[in-house]
């Protein structure tokens, strides 16, 4: 018998039968009825094979019953098409209602930053003292609250959205175009950054995505380009735009190109107040939407040369041309293909696969969904299944998806605490390179023992996931039942002997949960 007596004791009669059937099977050839597979309209759904489970774990943030049923109903090909193209599917009603009630859902950067500026100004006018301190604290708390709402919304979508691949891609791009919430006023606008710069383009055109991040006040503040002006050049963003966002280091640009691109980017900044007074000849070149502003009076109009191509001084059109030039470089296609393959396929993605993805990138003008289609249908992808170590985000989200299987949590603070503790705080990467995506960076001895501690926190109680967000009302008590139907359908049949043995030595359901979430099978996908 391979499952602990404790887990067996916690099962319902039906599941217990199923357990007996399964664990008695030497090979995986039970009938659908015997596995208890969900049935639609009376027709049995196909039995999950190990490669189906691993495939699903990789394409999504982890298994839950809805995703599994979707996959069984649609088959792999149609499931993938839906994930790539049918985005923004409706969320479960309680989650949708929670998000609709958030302040961050109803504001934009322009209004927010204008409000912050006004309140800061009013603050400055107050005499030193308790009132001023209170106003300062109120303002700071509001900014923190907005940042928290943005993170809360991200995590709820990651756990509950049926558009699982879209949510993974949003995480991927937020990490690729990483911003740090604790710099300048970035925390006020990360919700808008995710919603308006990243989300609309996550499976769309890469060039549009680059331009959307380039114009967003979160990025403009984070990498200092709002301060980049003719005569006061700051090359921080210009460098990272090429090194981290598009071409990769060694992607064929020189220090000279960095300096030239910095000049191209002069005048690209933020304005939440009155437009500047401009000379008549400059007025047609002025651009503004939302908090983004291109101010030609701050632009360096000298002639530039980028990658050997002359760029005539002409204002913001230079920026658009430069971005078009950059994303059309073969090195850009290769760099983005490799980044995607590192996240979705392997820490060392097969060069042939990267080359095919890069070709798709170039042939489709940087169509992200097309590149991902090449990736997910590649034989190299199938061959890689089960070998990718989950980064903390994948670990935490897949744990909650698995443990609560669609049941709506009311408080994401425990999830945020777990991510912080595992070293992958959302919008918390101080450096612009984003979090690493490889096992080498997440599976050191210190990180593994920390992960087991988090596994224990998840497995031993509800950890406050069902508490009210505001106040101290305790929600439902108890711990998750990980030995659920999903477990017997998609996890138990494929457990390794050593894991079965460990589970069998558990003294309680909580301990059993802890071991399962700590197991190699749950750490890899």
């Amino acid at each position: 018998m391979s499952i602990s007596a404790y887990a067996r004791g916690s099962l319902t009669g039906l599941s217990a039968c199923l357990l007996l059937v399964c664990s008695a099977c030497a090979t995986r050839t039970p009938t659908a009825a015997a596995t208890g597979a969900p049935q639609v309209g009376g027709a049995p759904l196909p039995v999950l094979r190990r490669e189906d489970v691993l495939w699903l774990e990789r394409v999504t943030f982890g298994l839950d019953s809805t995703t599994v049923a979707d996959y069984q109903r649609l088959g792999r090909e149609r499931f993938l098409a839906a994930q790539l193209h049918a985005v923004d599917r409706p969320l479960p009603a309680p989650i949708a209602a929670t998000i609709a009630a958030m302040e961050v859902t109803h504001i934009d950067s322009q209004a927010t930053l204008a409000d912050v500026a006004a309140r800061n100004k009013a603050l400055g006018a107050l005499p030193e003292g308790a009132d001023r301190e209170l106003a300062r604290k109120t303002l700071g708390d509001h900014g923190n609250e907005l940042a928290y709402e943005a993170i809360r919304r991200d995590l709820l979508r990651a756990v509950y959205s049926e558009s699982q691949l879209q949510e993974q891609m949003i995480w991927f791009w937020l990490n690729h175009f990483s911003v740090y919430q604790h710099k300048a006023n970035v925390r006020w606008v990360i919700g808008d950054y995710e919603e308006r710069a990243i989300r609309p383009h996550a499976l769309g055109s890469f060039k549009d995505l680059v331009l959307a991040t380039l114009e967003h006040p979160a990025m403009l503040q984070y990498l200092d380009n709002q301060q980049n002006a003719a005569g006061h050049v700051n090359e921080n963003y210009a460098r990272e735009l090429m090194e981290l966002h598009t071409l990769g280091v060694g992607g064929g640009y020189s220090q000279g190109d960095v300096q030239q691109l910095a000049l191209v980017l002069t005048g690209v900044g933020i304005n939440t107040g009155e437009p500047p007074r401009l000379k008549p000849e400059l007025r047609p070149l002025y651009r503004r939407h939302g908090a983004f502003e291109f101010n030609p009076a701050r632009h360096d109009f000298s002639a530039k040369i980028l990658f050997g191509v002359p760029v005539r001084g002409q204002g913001f059109a230079e920026v658009e041309n430069a971005v078009a030039l950059i994303v059309a470089q073969p090195t850009c296609a290769r760099f983005i293909a490799r980044e995607l393959a590192t996240y979705f396929v392997s820490d060392n993605p097969p060069p042939a696969l990267v080359a095919r993805m890069a070709r798709t990138f170039q042939q489709s003008n940087g169509d992200i969904a097309a590149v991902l289609h090449t990736l997910f249908t590649a034989r190299e992808f199938d061959a890689s299944l089960g070998g990718k170590f989950k980064d903390p985000m994948r670990f935490v989200v897949s744990s909650v998806r698995f443990a609560y299987d669609g049941r709506a949590i009311s408080n994401v603070k425990p999830m945020l605490n777990w991510l912080n503790s595992l070293g992958e705080a959302p919008y918390g990467r101080q450096t612009p390179d984003g979090y690493p995506m490889t096992e080498l960076n997440w599976a050191s001895s210190g990180q593994l023992s920390r992960r087991f501690e988090i596994a224990r926190a998840i497995g031993s109680g509800n950890a406050g996931l069902f508490d009210a967000e505001q106040g101290t009302t305790a929600g439902a008590a108890g711990f998750p039942q990980l030995s659920n139907r999903l477990y017997f359908e998609a996890v138990e049949p494929f457990l390794l002997a050593k894991t079965r043995d460990a589970l069998g030595r558990a003294n309680s359901q909580q301990e059993w949960n802890t071991f399962l979430l700590s197991s190699p099978e749950f750490s890899y996908e």
């Binding site: 200092d224 700051n234 460098r239 090194e243 060694g250 220090q255 080498l440 210190g446 558990a506 071991f515």
Partner: protein, 399 residues
């Protein structure tokens, strides 16, 4: 449960690789080495100030640190006729310098010209020749630990949340941040079950080491935590980490690594005061605490503080500095021949800037570190070559 019991409890796993015991083989003698990596490219020009260069004051109209003034006990500290030390570390690192327990190596760095933080940090931590393909599974501290393991065990540790690339290639080196240390989550039986679950898995060593170290450190600091409740003086932040590092290195480890972030000062870095001086002051206090906590062990300890590159010699448009090239390393230790500015040097002027932008590299970091290691451990040429292939050690006569 004491450490011996835990070791016994984990014994089954340890037997497999025969590596676990080595971790805890407390060395009885031999040098200690701590590498402090300042991530972000700290502005070394405002740490070791080239005050005899008028061009320094021209190039940094808003952020130059004022010339040292012998009448002042709070300004920059003149180290010689050309160089002065930032006021922010005057009382800490400056004091060590005056006791000949600190030295600086200017114009040091890598051949890496990408001026990318991440690329250059990687090249330094790997410590491999730039020509040829990189092996991301072989960092220079890992090679150092392995090289020394042959004759004298060199117990190593990274005081970081993630394993730094510098230790890549050694499966036996544990990592643990000392920012927060608390009770371990698992008892002996649970730790054994978790280790067993990974038996034969490639993560087995890391799983077992992690559980063991967590337990060990909690025990090490149990006294500290008890004392902290009564002690009115409460060290915080990097100082507290440095104090804990010193306790572990005094008793258990010979090679340590820590990184400190927050040095990428593109905007408003400050001159004598401001964000950079605040960071430097905290670092200086931490290293002073480290030296004091080590006690007599400070005599056989060497600390090197380094960063991926220096910054632009001129201030940028935002009273900050952008990515540069050559930088300044610090060498500290109770018995070093300090109180000097070491290595190849040149006059600081506009004409001598590299690419009219930043400091040149006159001292290759692999040669400098290799020289220190050779003197510290009395390494053979073969051992030196194993740590830094294709780069001969350079003896700066500091150790």
């Amino acid at each position: 449960m004491n450490r011996r019991h835990l070791l016994q409890a984990l014994g089954a796993a340890a037997l497999g690789g025969g590596q676990i015991g080595r971790l805890y083989a407390a060395p009885t003698s031999g040098p200690r080495f701590l590498l402090v990596f300042l991530r972000g490219g700290y502005d070394s020009t405002n740490l070791l100030i080239p005050y005899s260069s008028s061009y320094y004051y021209e190039a940094r109209p808003n952020i130059a640190v004022p010339r040292p003034d012998t009448a002042s006990s709070t300004g920059a500290l003149a180290l010689d006729a050309d160089w002065a030390l930032a006021p922010a570390v005057r009382d800490t690192i400056g004091a060590l310098y005056l006791q000949k327990q600190a030295a600086f190596v200017p114009f040091v760095g890598t051949e890496d010209l990408t001026r990318s933080h991440f690329e250059t940090q990687d090249s330094i931590e790997l410590g491999q020749p730039l020509s040829g393909s990189r092996n991301y599974r072989s960092g220079f501290l890992g090679r150092l630990a392995d090289t020394l393991a042959g004759s004298r065990p060199a117990a190593s540790i990274a005081f970081t949340d993630a394993m730094p690339l510098a230790f890549a290639g050694t499966s036996t080196v544990p990592n643990l941040s000392l920012k927060n240390v608390g009770k371990p989550a698992f008892d002996e039986r649970q730790a054994r079950i978790l280790s067993d679950m990974y038996g034969g898995h490639h993560l087995e060593g890391a799983v077992t080491n992690g559980l063991e170290l967590r337990h060990d450190v909690a025990q090490e600091f149990a006294d500290e935590m008890r004392a902290a409740n009564r002690d009115a003086i409460n060290t915080k932040g990097f100082e507290l980490e440095a104090e804990r590092m010193a306790m572990l290195m005094r008793d258990k480890y010979r090679i340590g690594f820590i990184d400190v972030g927050g040095w990428d000062t593109h905007v408003g870095e400050g001159a004598a005061q401001g964000s950079l001086p605040t960071n430097l002051a905290s670092l200086g206090r931490g290293l002073q605490t480290f030296s004091q906590t080590l006690g007599s062990a400070w005599q056989d300890t060497v600390v090197v503080v380094l960063s991926e590159f220096g910054r632009t010699f001129r201030e940028n448009g935002n009273r900050g500095t952008d990515h540069g090239h050559g930088t300044v390393y610090w060498v500290l230790g109770g018995a070093i021949k300090g109180g000097v500015i070491a290595g190849e040097q040149q006059v600081v002027s506009r004409a001598t800037l590299f690419q009219d932008r930043d400091y040149p590299v006159l001292n290759d970091y692999r040669g400098v570190l290799g020289g220190l290691f050779r003197s510290l451990w009395g390494m053979s040429s073969a051992q030196s070559a194993a740590v830094f292939p294709q780069r001969a050690p350079v003896d700066l006569k500091l150790v």
